[in-house]
């Protein structure tokens, strides 16, 4: 095992290969990294240098707790007593609008197997599937009126991550790092903590930089074993050699780059080396959870087999944001919230994996005074239907529902203990204050100081945006 250097140990022992070079890098921020967005447009250069926001930001970092599969709003946050009233009956509205399959396959209205109660001073409704989240509702701001354009996972996932129904478009995290750069010189600006059990549906495309330069794509950190491998040199080499090698590499790459104008890819490459050098200094420290005390680890559920994996990732997310990482995204494998059958069991299991760590994260951020500057986003790609599907007596899950779903936000200047938007009496359609995906994105961008319209990228001679052509609505009502 190779001990990772802390800043202090680094200064006391300068025998760590690239570290020496990293020092030079820190002190001489030369032409390697330069130029903001305006320059980038003309020079073809893109970097992670901090860029001024469009307006004063509410939050400087984002933690996106992505709940892939489509969590059921009426079983978690949006109680619908009418479900009980209509239980076992045909959906009273237009059946054609239900779900994503032929209407013959729609079942009857299905009550929630979970019990709802009011929590906190805000008296927010949360079901008993999320007992830990129930304890932090006074810090959360619920968006009950989200809707999206597609009832299939692949497309809805592309939509919620990149604003479009199809692959190849930059993700929200890429846009945010493109717009703001990074305030952390020694870690990637956009970190993805995916599930060691496997990739989510759509895989690595969920955090692609699309047509934006690759320097803005999400960097996956490993979540088993060492989060970052080969963080320090595994061979002996005097520090002086390391710096000389670093200079040599810069020269080789610059020469190569100069003869290949407009290749953003090569800038990203160069930047990735510079970042790698800086990561050696601090990343080891950041990623080492053994620096946390027992009570913190316990709070996040680290050590408990059910919550350990998600808890570690939540804790890691806090530590990354603490160091200035701009955008952290946590994914679950496949789609645990896709509760087509046995909703009671499968939804519960998804809750159990995440509930305690999520609540601990919010509480921890708050305790450390970080919640003001961090926007936490919890949600999936769509919601679920009030109906089940009738097959004998067996059908026990809910279908996809693109017409209504609930997400929540915390921190980042949103109103705590607040709920926005309404769905109909069965939770199937939005009836008040609808929030489209572009509205949602514009609102999140607004929180970090970016204007959805001004945040654009010239592509094929056209200005392309996360939120598309039509002007989205920033949901200003949710900001304190």
């Amino acid at each position: 095992m190779h001990p990772t250097p802390t800043r202090r140990s680094f200064f006391s022992s300068l025998s760590k290969g690239l570290c020496g070079a990293a020092l030079a890098e820190l002190f001489t921020r030369d032409g390697l990294i330069g130029g903001g967005n305006a320059d980038a447009a003309t020079s073809g250069r893109h970097d992670l240098k901090p860029k001024p926001p469009h307006h004063p930001p509410r939050a400087t970092s984002v933690i996106h707790l992505f709940m892939n599969g489509g969590p059921s709003q009426m079983d978690l946050f949006d109680p619908k007593p009418a479900l009980d009233r209509y239980a076992g009956k045909t959906y009273p509205g237009n059946v054609e609008k239900i779900g994503n399959v032929a209407t013959t396959q729609i079942g009857d209205v299905m009550p929630s197997p979970f019990k709802f109660a009011r929590h906190g001073e805000s008296g927010t409704w949360v079901s008993d599937a999320l007992p830990h989240t129930a304890e932090i509702v006074d810090d959360l701001c619920f968006l009950h009126s989200q809707w999206t354009d597609h009832p299939n996972h692949d497309n809805a996932l592309y939509k919620i991550h990149s604003g479009r129904l199809f692959m190849g478009h930059p993700s929200l995290g890429s846009w945010v790092t493109y717009g703001l750069g990074s305030e952390c010189e020694d870690l990637p600006a956009y970190v993805v903590l995916d599930d060691p059990l496997g990739l989510p549906k759509n895989g690595v495309r969920n955090w692609t930089s699309g047509y934006l330069p690759p320097v803005y794509q999400g960097t996956r950190f490993r979540t088993v074993g060492a989060p970052v491998l080969n963080l320090t040199p595994e061979y002996e080499q005097p520090e002086t050699i390391g710096s000389a090698a670093k200079e040599l590499l810069e020269r080789l790459d610059q020469t190569h780059r100069e003869r290949r104008p407009n290749e953003g890819e090569l800038d990203a490459r160069i930047e990735s080396y510079a970042l790698a050098a800086r990561m050696q200094l601090t990343a080891g420290d950041v990623l080492d959870l053994s620096n946390e005390n027992r009570s913190t680890l316990d709070a996040y559920g680290v050590g408990d087999p059910v919550t350990d994996s998600y808890g570690r990732r939540c804790l890691l997310a806090r530590r990354l944001v603490e160091r200035g990482v701009r955008f952290v995204q946590i994914f679950l494998e496949d789609q645990p919230w896709d509760n087509h059958s046995n909703l009671e069991g499968t939804l519960k299991s998804a809750c159990q994996r995440t509930d305690q760590p999520v609540a601990a994260l919010i509480a921890d951020l708050k305790r450390r005074g970080m919640l003001d500057s961090t926007l936490v986003v919890w949600g999936g790609e769509f919601g679920r239907t009030p109906t089940s599907q009738k097959v004998g007596n067996e059908y026990t899950g809910r279908d996809h529902n693109m017409q209504a779903f609930t997400s929540w936000l915390a921190g980042g200047g949103v109103k705590p203990g607040f709920a926005y938007g309404k769905t109909d009496e069965l939770g199937h359609e939005v009836v008040e204050n609808p929030i489209s995906v572009p509205d949602f994105h514009a609102t999140l961008l607004h929180a970090v100081g970016l204007d959805a319209h001004d945040l654009s990228f010239n592509r094929n001679g056209l200005e392309d945006r996360l939120t598309g052509v039509e002007k989205p609505r920033v949901v200003k009502e949710i900001f304190a």
């Binding site: 990739l199 895989g203 000389a244 040599l248 190569h256 104008p261 090569l266 490459r269 970042l275």
Partner: protein, 1017 residues
């Protein structure tokens, strides 16, 4: 839960014991006292409109249906009946007075006596026929009464065999489910037997299913409406209902371009002055010889531009653009080497092609590389991505290693090297078992074996069905779905996955299409007649192969045995020498103590015992490790022996086991599964192809592959249909993949999706022309490569210009080549090649990998200190070599059609810091040093000599790593760097010669980290 209500109630009805022993007292019928009570006291809450807990007690039928949490009445057993329990305990009713004891006792009596009704509520639904019953029998019964086993002489796969009954007579009495033994056994839970559920991966039938069985029997056991098995014509047209929501259902011919048959003739745009010899393409005679007749040119005309250029050029002109100038000769040499063999040209190769005076040097270089066995290793790898190749079964827990998957990998490499016609290649992979009889040993030849190995294509997906808990029908269906996904997206460029659950939203693929497609594979992958991966293997070899293996291995094994025993005795002789000398020197008491200590188990020893054992193992009778450390000469001898043993092992012929897919000649009927759910069968379907694709001239026709064949011939029919000359997809999809791999992006960007959701082709006519030329030229991949590589389009420079970027920033029109990063395999293989440590061995079992504690995964070097090409490493899904994964080696879930290319700092970290990469850099430097040894260090002290040596070394480093000579300014700067690095190493205490060498290592290591090494122009 709820299913039990029916089951239990019905058991009571048919159990004679309950009735005979306990003649019903009056009032035990529901209607007599229970119904009134429920209406009186319960329905306020438990009524249809507002049924608390989902329980409706207002009608007899509703009582039987139970609540959300299951049944409330278990006939014959009040203690297990929620209804009794809640009234007995006083929990219910919650309001008003508790029920009096007498009332409670009525309920108890009613349940105890079998919960009977004077007027039993109808359990009826719509009329049933045989198709309602067959899927249930297959799902719940066929494991013991099916193809593999016929317990009690009973086969329940067909209605005919059901009617025949078993050894004990009929199992169903038409019109009388109450008298039918099979119903009785099911309801009494004798069948499926409790103890065997997990053994045979069966679950009990649900109450709904049992009710269906009953209704079918009561209805007189009607036949299945259609014939059970597939002699209906292709069912495409027969499924109007399911196809109604598909865009192309109106059958006026496919509207989507990719579903229209491949045209017979694709006109090449006529040349014009812009393209014909304006000199742009033939600058300084660097082999850009448009118009020379080369095979694979698709009938290129003298003086006319290459057809590819004609198509590309026309579009460029339309947008006011032109081709870029040609790439330099050294750029082309590097580009084509990486492209065709995945390795940089060696210094000699570079020299050879750079100095080749022939006009046709480029064509000859392309041909030489296409003829290299390294070609198959490069291009076979692309196909392995499509197949989803892995050396392990995958899954959530065990991820067991697949011992024989590598034979398929080698088969793919071999097929590419042989330029096996693509249609033949597909036939073997999809239906190799139906091409020739393999069941008769006398007919087995090497090609028959190859056919079977080819079917490994269908066996590459994650397979968890060897596990104790993951072999139920849903898991099997998951595997089948993956296989169908690989075949449909990989070969046909059509996404069928969605149609498993519902008819496709955008593409004309209906749910019936999906299940017809599934039926094609039913003979191999039959969820009701399953083989786990443990059983799904064949030992097939021709008699000659078997004899060859036998004689070869006998000799080698005996040599290995000799060497091993020699090794053992060698070590022992050294140990004995120590022991004989040292043991006697010890006091007897110590001797005794040591003997006792050594017998004690490790961890149970006292501190003193531990010390004694350690002393024994180091001084008295040293272990091998200790001996080797103390006596290097022994170490050397042992390493020599180990090397010889390993070398022999490599020559062992592997077992004849094949991971194959083969038809077992008894496919179950295939039913549409509503929403893809395993226990929701819909209509039966016959094998068939998607209706929207049936417009071509070659119909899909299933015939036995040869008279009397055991195989159904379904997959062979499918493979033949796929490779018909006007098939809309097969050739288009393949040439597009090859184009994508050569040019960095497909003509259709979405390589695996030619459907409505896929991208439009940027050059549709070119795609059609290439596909047509490919098919008409005999499906030769090597010809296809040449067509593409000999074009001017391919030979352009990759340098961007602001003018072209303005019009075409993403280079869709191909006015230049694309700068591309090496993929994972090319990065690693190049590192090893430069280090001079590339193991030339092709094929065979994969090289083992080792996982370090922190999760870093690297391969073990061979006994020769060499490393094999990346495709020969063990590619276990959960333990992928780190160097490959950081450079975007994909997760195979189930396969990968198009790799992502990322640029992240973890890549830099591994190249900069990894010890193995650093060691390879050292080897690289050593090779250079060996060619240009020494310098002035010990000589006359003149600076100039050393610098000249440095310059020569630099030149070699550049030529090996970057495939070009350094420019003068680079030489100057490089020499300066080497001098400076040398000074620094000297300052760090190295002597002069050593410092120079170390400086070169540092330089080489830096070069391996540079962008120029990682990118190809």
């Amino acid at each position: 839960m709820t299913r039990r209500v029916f089951a239990a109630v019905l058991i009571a009805v048919v159990t004679p014991v309950a009735l005979a022993d306990d003649p019903s007292p009056p009032g035990v019928f529901f209607e007599d006292q229970v119904e009134g009570l429920l209406l009186d006291r319960c329905v306020d809450c438990h009524m249809t409109d507002a049924a608390e807990g989902g329980l409706d007690l207002s009608t007899a039928a509703a009582v039987l249906r139970g609540s959300d949490s299951g049944s409330v009445v278990t006939a014959g057993d009040p203690e297990k009946s929620l209804l009794y329990e809640v009234v007995h305990s006083g929990e219910m009713p919650p309001d008003g007075p508790e029920l009096d004891e007498e009332t409670v006792s009525h309920i108890e009596a009613w349940i105890a006596s079998g919960a009977k009704f004077r007027d039993p509520p109808p359990t009826a639904g719509p009329a049933v026929d045989g198709h309602d019953v067959i899927p249930i029998l297959l799902l719940r019964c066929a494991a013991c009464h099916g193809a593999e086993l016929q317990r009690g002489g009973l086969d329940l796969r067909t209605l005919a065999s059901l009617r025949r009954g078993g050894d004990g007579g009929p199992v169903a009495v038409s019109g009388a489910s109450n008298e039918s033994p099979m119903i009785e056994r099911v309801e009494q839970e004798l069948c499926p037997p409790q103890g065997q559920l997990l053994k045979y991966f069966v679950e009990r039938p649900s109450s709904t299913e049992v009710a269906t069985l009953r209704r079918w029997i009561d209805a007189g056991m009607p036949d299945a409406e259609d014939s059970e098995r597939g002699d209906r014509p292709d069912a495409g047209a027969a499924d109007a209902d399911a196809d109604a929501d598909s865009p192309d259902a109106d059958s006026s011919g496919p509207s989507h371009w990719a579903f229209r048959p491949l045209p017979r003739d694709v006109p090449i745009p006529t040349a014009d002055a812009n393209l014909k010899g304006n000199g742009e393409g033939v600058r300084d005679g660097e082999g850009v010889r448009d118009g020379e007749g080369v095979r694979g040119d698709g009938g290129q005309r003298d003086g006319e531009p290459h057809p590819v250029d004609a198509f590309i050029g026309r579009k460029l002109r339309e947008r006011g653009l032109t081709f870029s100038p040609p790439a330099s000769r050294s750029e082309l040499i590097r580009r084509v080497h990486f492209d065709l063999v995945g390795l940089p040209p060696t210094a000699d190769e570079l020299e050879r092609w750079e100095s080749d005076p022939g006009d046709d040097w480029y064509e000859r270089m392309v041909d030489a590389l296409l003829a290299s066995p390294r070609y198959g290793e490069r291009w076979g790898r692309y196909w392995l991505d499509v197949a989803g190749y892995a050396d392990s079964e995958g899954g959530q827990s065990a991820d067991t290693v697949r011992p024989f998957a590598w034979k398929y990998r080698d088969y793919v490499v071999r097929s590419f090297n042989e330029d096996k016609p693509w249609d033949r290649f597909l036939h073997e992979q999809l239906a190799g078992d139906e091409l020739a009889e393999f069941r008769d040993p006398d007919q087995v030849t090497e090609s028959v074996v190859d056919n079977l190995i080819g079917t490994g294509f269908l066996r590459m997906t994650v397979d968890e069905t060897g596990s104790r808990t993951m072999n139920f029908v849903p898991e099997r269906l998951g595997l089948i779905s993956d296989v169908l996904g690989v075949v449909s997206s990989g070969v046909m460029g059509v996404t069928m996955e969605c149609a498993r659950c519902h008819s496709h939203k955008y593409d004309p693929i209906s749910q019936s299409d999906y299940f017809r497609f599934k039926a094609i594979f039913q003979g191999v992958f039959d969820e009701h007649d399953w083989m786990s991966w443990k059983q799904r293997r064949l030992d097939v070899a021709s008699p000659e192969m078997a004899a060859r293996r036998e004689s070869n291995n006998r000799v080698i094994e005996s040599q290995m045995k000799d060497l091993r025993s020699h090794r053992t005795s060698l070590v022992r002789s050294w140990q004995d020498r120590y022991y004989d000398r040292e043991w006697g020197k010890l006091d007897e008491s110590i001797q005794e103590e040591i003997t006792v200590a050594r017998k004690a188990r490790e961890g149970r020893r006292t501190l003193r015992q531990d010390k004694l054992v350690r002393r024994f193992d180091t001084e008295i009778r040293p272990t091998e490790e200790v001996l080797v450390e103390r006596h290097p000469e022994l170490g050397e001898e042992l390493r020599g022996l180990d090397g010889r043993i390993a070398a022999l092992e490599e020559r062992l012929e592997p077992e004849p086991t094949i991971r194959a897919a083969w038809d077992r000649g008894r496919p179950s009927p295939t039913y549409v599964l509503i929403r893809g759910e395993y226990d929701r069968p819909g209509r039966p379907v016959d094998p068939g192809i998607p209706a929207a694709l049936s417009a071509g001239e070659s119909p899909f026709r299933v015939e036995p592959p040869w008279p009397g064949a055991e195989s159904s011939g379904r997959r062979l029919a499918f493979a033949r249909w796929l490779t018909s000359p006007d098939h809309p997809l097969t050739a288009r999809v393949l040439v597009n993949r090859v184009w994508g791999d050569h040019f960095g992006r497909g003509i259709v960007k979405t390589l695996d999706n030619f459907g409505a959701m896929g991208a439009e082709p940027t050059h549709p006519e070119l795609l059609d022309w290439l596909a047509r030329d490919f098919v008409d030229g005999g499906w030769s991949l090597k010809s296809l490569h040449r067509t593409m590589l000999l074009s001017r389009t391919y030979r352009q420079s990759s340098v961007r210009t602001p003018e072209a970027d303005e019009v075409d920033p993403e280079n869709e029109l191909l006015g230049r080549m694309r700068l591309r990063r090496l993929d994972a395999e090319a990065v690693r293989d190049s590192l090893i090649a430069l280090a001079g440590r590339l193991d030339p061995r092709a094929g065979g079992p994969p090289s083992p990998i080792v996982a370090r504690e922190d999760g870093l995964i690297m391969e073990q070097p061979s006994h020769r200190g060499t490393y094999r090409r990346s495709l020969y490493l063990q590619l276990r899904r959960t333990e992928m070599p780190t160097l490959l994964t950081v450079f975007d080696y994909p997760e195979m879930q189930p396969n990968c059609s198009d790799r992502a290319v990322s640029t992240v700092s973890t890549q830099s970290l591994v190249l900069v810091n990894n010890a193995r990469v650093h060691q390879w850099a050292g080897d690289f430097a050593d090779r250079v040093w060996r060619q240009i040894p020494g310098d002035d260090a010990e000589g006359d002290g003149e600076e100039g000599d050393g610098e000249e040596a440095d310059r020569q070394r630099l030149r070699l480093v550049y030529r090996m790593a970057f495939s070009r000579s350094p420019r003068p300014d680079e030489l100057d700067a490089g020499a300066e760097s080497l001098q400076r690095l040398g000074d620094l190493w000297r300052a760090a205490g190295r002597d002069a010669e050593d410092a120079s060498r170390e400086a070169l290592v540092t330089f080489c290591h830096t070069v391996l980290n540079s962008a120029e090494f990682l990118y190809v122009d």
